[in-house]
């Protein structure tokens, strides 16, 4: 594998009984690159992320991160390889405060941090994601948008080198979304490699260096945003003609596109 790759997937296949959720997908992410992963509902995007983070097994194929084969390692070892993720269906620790939630991510990831240092790290991260004033609340006491931000905060607390984001924009209003886009750009400037799974095209276009499109478990396109978004197969499979028409009318890349 090339030394400047943060992620390299070869022939990944994920099966749930008879359902083939991911079918022989190969893809790479360069170090420092932000790659968008899009496609219709049920295309297999989340399943692919789950197989990278080892929460579902691959029935075929391999995954390397930063040159290391992680195809067979235990899921809790991923943070030690610099990989952090968020969950599309948020997974907060319901009986712990937001601050504790984030501190736990800091405590057990990259290098094991003492409790007090982890709390300090949590405070710094919450400041960055705008949750400081809610640090003492329980996940059930904040809005869904805040719980999404909590997912991102926990991932950031792990100081990842490769960050996998699964629909963190869903449910955010325009201001919140702009803040999230800003945050992703900042992370990229700091050298973090990022995979962004998203239905909000405005966000995808705003942050991605490259876009990969999935449909029915297969990769159907992979390339720079402009060419992928104008690719007839992609338009037919996912974006729809309306998206293309609107794009040419407004001449702007920042129109929010396909929503679920």
């Amino acid at each position: 594998m090339k030394p400047n790759l943060s992620l390299e997937i070869e022939g990944a296949t994920v099966r749930f009984g008879g359902v083939v959720a991911v079918s022989e997908v190969s893809m790479t992410v360069d170090v420092g690159e932000v790659v968008g992963l899009i496609g219709p509902n049920g295309a297999g995007k989340t399943s692919l992320l789950n197989s990278i983070s080892r929460l579902v097994p691959l029935s075929a194929g391999s995954v390397h991160v930063f040159g290391q084969n992680i195809t067979k390692i235990a899921p809790y070892m991923l943070p030690r390889h610099g990989v952090a993720r968020t969950f599309q269906v948020v997974q907060p620790f319901a009986n712990l405060t937001l601050r504790e939630n984030v501190a736990i991510a800091a405590m057990f990831s990259l290098k094991s941090l003492p409790k007090l240092e982890a709390m300090d790290r949590a405070d710094a991260v919450l400041e960055r994601t705008g949750l400081t004033h809610k640090a003492k609340m329980l996940p059930a006491e904040v809005t869904l948008a805040d719980r999404k931000r909590l997912e991102v905060s926990r991932a950031l607390a792990m100081t990842p080198k490769l960050l996998l984001l699964d629909e963190v924009m869903a449910g955010l209003n325009h201001t919140e979304m702009d803040a999230m886009i800003h945050l992703i750009r900042e992370l990229q400037q700091e050298g973090t490699s990022i995979v962004v799974v998203e239905h909000v095209m405005k966000a995808i276009v705003a942050v991605c260096n490259r876009i990969i499109v999935m449909q029915n478990g297969k990769k159907i396109a992979d390339g720079n945003p402009k060419s992928v978004l104008n690719d007839p197969t992609v338009v037919a499979a996912y974006l729809g003609q309306r998206y293309v028409d609107r794009q040419s009318k407004t001449q702007s890349a920042s129109v929010s596109g396909v929503q679920k």
Binding site: L55, Y76, L78, R85, Q91, P92, F93, I104, F108
Partner: protein, 319 residues
Amino acid sequence: MTAYLKKYGAPLAWASAALIVLAACFWLDNYWLRVWTSVLMFVAITQGLNVIVGFAGYHSFGNAAFFGTGAYSAAMLVMAGWPLWAALLACSLVGALLALILGPALLRLKGHYFAIATVALNSALAELILNVGGLTGGAQGISMPMSTLSPIDLYRQVYLLMLTGAAVATLIVFWLSRSKFGYAIRASKDSEDGARAMGINTTAVRVAAWGLSGAVTAYVGGVWAYWINFIEVGSAFDVSLSVKAYIMLLMGGMGSVVGPIIGAVFFEVLATLVWSKFGALHNLILGVLVCAVVLFIPSGIIIPLRRFLSLRKQEGAKG
């Protein structure tokens, strides 16, 4: 003054409570000494259960398996000539080992499957001891040699041994409520996938929690064997023991440090009073009471109690 109280109030309260409980064995009469010994026994068992149920979220209905294992290990070691303290230490280790060996397989099971498996484990161990015979005494049980201590001194010794168990178990729970290990357990309980993605080895953490639970419960079983002097399978591996502790945990409040103590004291003292006053009706009355508590304060006595105390504090501050 209030700042001073805020800082040292809780430790002071705990220390004075510990002193009173410690001194109690010198002024309680024989009857109440036995009642409170049994209360302390249940405090320890309930805290042991709190570790695996309240913190790890695994409903171990068959924790009596550890109690019985502890009782039998301690009794057999004492019969083999070991000093009491060594036998008690060893039987706690046996309890921990049992959990550590079986945990990886059993803790893979979720929800009621795990609960049923622990009950099956309890029956299997009882069956095993019955059929192995030999040193275990089989169906005859084990009669331990009479203590050379006078009855009251013996009761005091057992009281203090149970108190040690209850104190250590409570300290373990206190440690879980604020340590990194405790956070790992609680995170694994709330979201397994989330915890794993954050670097927590959820299986290992759970097995370790069950090990702690097993060690505490086995210790209590060992002291109990020494206390009653004669053990047999039926009373050592008695699932109703786990069920009773489970009720105490439910009444007191799962996952809290003080709750299980309140639950155990409340239930055991009440059970004794009801039993001495109403005899035959005692199970019925307790049953109704348990239903009432579970229906009206499902999260345990500790929640309304905390609210009541904080209200009092606010009123105090006003006045």
